[in-house]
């Protein structure tokens, strides 16, 4: 079993290495290597999941030491448990579909071979994070994901906005990564080992202050990677990358990593109330923020990006109320429907060359399959029964409700916070999903461009993803299914009556309101965007003001110091020596007798000195 785990992990990494070695024009070879390796990985991951979930004793670990630092050992290893294999399957499936989709989407792109290898590396890095048995190994995967996101977001090198977006993604997540690294080191030093199994087993024995500080540091990294307030600003800008990459980042890798890591290290977060409370506050803010801003965006992909920010906050909310199973449930459902939505948006962009909703419309007839699948995706996003998003969202809200009533192990006020924010977000989500649906697929076509034919490979990926989008919610229905796989007995992932009634009413009311507003003026935006929302509460400007501006001024100051003081010193030595030697060179008169006189004088002085001293 463990060998299969190693193989699943190694295949994408090998494919990445092989892909980077290929020639730039070797499109076909690159596609075969990338898809082949990932396909094999996906098949093996299914075998792995079946094997691990079938065993009564789930946790399997194999590791070997790669470095020793005194008492501390760093290991490379694979740790399999229910959570890991479930997420591995989701990652592999989404990544495989993204690879297949990319073959068609980047058909005319010269950078495809490199791109395919980067996607393989990205997937491999995510698998490292998911399967790592050692915290240091996890950090390695975490960092590789950071660099891959930079490379892939900046894939369209000719676009002027692509480079800044890539740099922003890299730097903003980096801010969090510093905290993450410190948290890992603190945990490792406190526990005397970096092994995840050993750290989790010792969670209760460690000093609770240390664990709390380490968890808060880890949360910083989680906020960066999972795009939670206040480090969420990179995700919407990351939309300049190719659309399949958005699907990958938003569904399978990167943003899911943060949530996954908290779920994996959850016993640590249980030690004190502070980390989960902080996570709950961040989740509540991010949820509402993302949904409100998504309401006002005009770009199809930006709406989806902000919806990811808000949906990931549901997952962190589920973690904050102490039910990681609910968070992982939403992670899986979100992976399916968000990948579907992005790939469908990619089809729209590919066919019309346009992703601004104000210039789209009436695509229902022209792109029926995209319409149907995207409708499924949006229904899941809005949380309409019986789509997957409904069940997973209700699992989170139900968990929050239980905690709010003091039944769970979380803090009640955090439960209330997550519950209220979650219910409000349900209404907002339904509103922006409906707006997107109406503005893209209904009404008159706003520009008389006829959509191009979309290749069957792309449409096929949509159909494949539509299946889990519709039916994945069922895995939460039986307690021996998802809850059993995640070793969370007694956790109810079924919809709770009170929250379900409330959220369904809110969602349907929001949909009805948007539809009514739209029917009054079908060619106008049903929600007139306010600049405050369209500019995302000016948080980018705040970030510019508080961080980027001072940092730039500081950097300018340093550069100035460099030119004036350091360079000045170096150049000063040069010019000083030149001036001095020019002065001294006056002694070189060319008159031999002067020289002889000086020599004689010196000899006399030396002789006198020798006699006197």
């Amino acid at each position: 079993m463990i060998e299969i785990g190693w193989l699943v992990l190694a295949l994408p990494l090998v494919a990445a290495a092989a892909g980077f070695a290929l020639h730039r024009r070797a499109r076909r070879g690159a596609a075969i290597v990338a898809v082949g390796a990932l396909g094999l990985s996906t098949a093996l991951s299914a075998v792995l999941a079946a094997g691990v979930l079938g065993q009564p004793e789930r946790v399997v670990e194999s590791a070997f030491t790669i470095a020793r630092f005194g008492e501390l050992r760093v290991q490379a290893g694979v740790r399999l448990d229910g959570l890991a294999v479930v997420v591995v399957v989701a990652v592999c499936v989404v990544a495989l579909l993204v690879q297949l989709y990319s073959i068609a989407y980047l058909h005319d792109d010269n950078g495809y071979p490199c791109y395919a290898a980067e996607v393989s590396l990205f997937t491999g890095a995510m698998l490292i994070v998911v399967l790592a048995a050692d915290l240091v190994m996890l950090v390695v995967g975490w960092e590789i994901m950071g660099i891959c996101s930079y490379l892939l977001i900046g894939h369209y090198r000719d676009l002027p906005e692509s480079r800044p977006a890539a740099v922003k993604a890299f730097l903003v997540t980096r801010v969090g990564d510093v905290g993450f690294l410190l948290g890992v080191l603190l945990l490792g030093v406190a526990a005397g080992t970096f092994g995840i199994g050993a750290v989790l087993a010792n969670a209760g024995a460690l000093p609770s202050a240390t664990v709390t500080v380490a968890c808060l540091l880890l949360l910083l990294g989680v906020a960066g990677k999972s795009a939670q307030f206040p480090l969420h600003t990179w995700l919407p800008d990351a939309m300049v990358g190719p659309t399949p990459i958005s699907a990958l980042i938003h569904a399978a890798t990167m943003v899911a990593a943060g949530v996954y890591v908290v779920a994996r290290l959850f016993p640590l977060f249980r030690v004190g109330p502070l980390p989960l409370a902080a996570l709950g506050v961040l989740a509540a803010i991010t949820m509402l923020l993302g949904a409100l801003v998504a309401l006002a965006q005009d770009d199809l992909k930006r709406v989806l990006a902000w919806s990811t920010v808000s949906q990931i906050a549901y997952m962190t909310g589920g973690l904050a109320v102490g039910v990681p199973a609910a968070a992982v449930f939403h992670l899986l459902a979100h992976a399916a429907f968000k990948a579907l939505l992005f790939l469908a948006a990619g089809c729209v962009l590919h066919a019309t060359g346009q992703s601004l909703m104000s210039r789209l419309g009436g695509l229902r007839q022209a792109m029926p399959l995209v319409f149907v699948t995207m409708t499924c995706g949006l229904a899941a996003l809005a949380g309409l029964p019986p789509f997957a998003g409904f069940f997973s969202k209700e699992a989170v809200l139900g968990a929050a409700y239980e905690t709010a009533r003091g039944h769970g192990e979380g803090t009640p006020w955090v439960g209330w916070l997550v519950l209220v924010a979650g219910l409000l977000t349900v209404a907002l989500t339904a509103a922006y999903a409906t707006r997107l649906w109406l503005r893209t697929f209904f009404g008159a076509a706003r520009e008389d461009t006829t959509p191009k034919q979309v290749s069957s490979l792309m449409l096929g990926s949509l159909v494949v993803l539509a299946v889990p989008t519709v039916v994945l919610g069922a895995i939460g229905l039986r307690s021996r299914w998802l809850a059993g796989w995640l070793d969370a007995p007694g956790v109810a992932l079924r919809p709770e009556a009170v929250t379900t009634a409330l959220s369904t009413v809110l969602g349907i009311a929001a949909i009805a309101a948007v539809v009514l507003a739209w029917r009054r003026a079908p060619d106008r935006d049903p929600i007139r965007p306010r600049p405050l929302l369209a500019r995302a509460f000016y948080l980018d400007d705040v970030q510019d003001l508080l961080v980027v501006g001072p940092y730039r001024r500081f950097a300018a100051e340093i550069a100035d110091y460099d030119t004036r003081v350091i360079d000045g010193a170096v150049e000063g030595y040069g010019t000083g020596a030149a001036v001095l030697s020019r002065r001294l060179s006056r002694l070189q008169t060319g008159n031999v007798q002067t020289y002889a006189t000086v020599v004689l004088g010196a000899a006399v002085v030396l002789a006198v000195a020798a006699v006197l001293l």
């Binding site: 060179s585 006056r586 070189q588 008169t589 060319g590 008159n591 031999v592 007798q593 002889a596 004689l600």
Partner: protein, 107 residues
């Protein structure tokens, strides 16, 4: 024998030679001053050889060497002076300052 006579004479001759080397403008006179200095040394060598009663007479031997060297030196030196005169039309040493640092004004 009084060594003082010889030493004072040698010192006088050497001083005259030094003055000539440092102060005379004519290259031929500078060469002659060098000869004076060499011969002052020769006087010293011979005088001390006698005064110390050196059985090997190394002072006299050295003096002979110096005479031979001085002859050769004068030959080379005069040849150079003649060449300089042909090229420059002068043998005044202050005017032969080709090796001055460029850009430095002559005093």
């Amino acid at each position: 024998m009084h060594i003082e006579l010889a030493v004072v004479l040698a010192a006088l001759l050497f001083s005259i030679g030094v003055y000539g080397v440092l102060a005379r403008r004519n290259a031929v006179l500078v060469l002659m001053s060098v000869e004076l200095m060499l011969n002052a040394v020769n006087i010293n060598l011979v005088a001390f050889d006698v005064w110390l009663r050196d059985t090997l007479h190394s002072g006299q031997t050295f003096a002979l060497f110096v005479v031979a060297l001085a002859a050769a030196e004068v030959g080379v030196g005069l040849a150079i002076v003649v060449q300089v005169y042909r090229l420059r039309g002068t043998v005044a040493i202050d005017d032969l300052d080709e090796l001055t640092e460029p850009g430095v004004h002559r005093d």
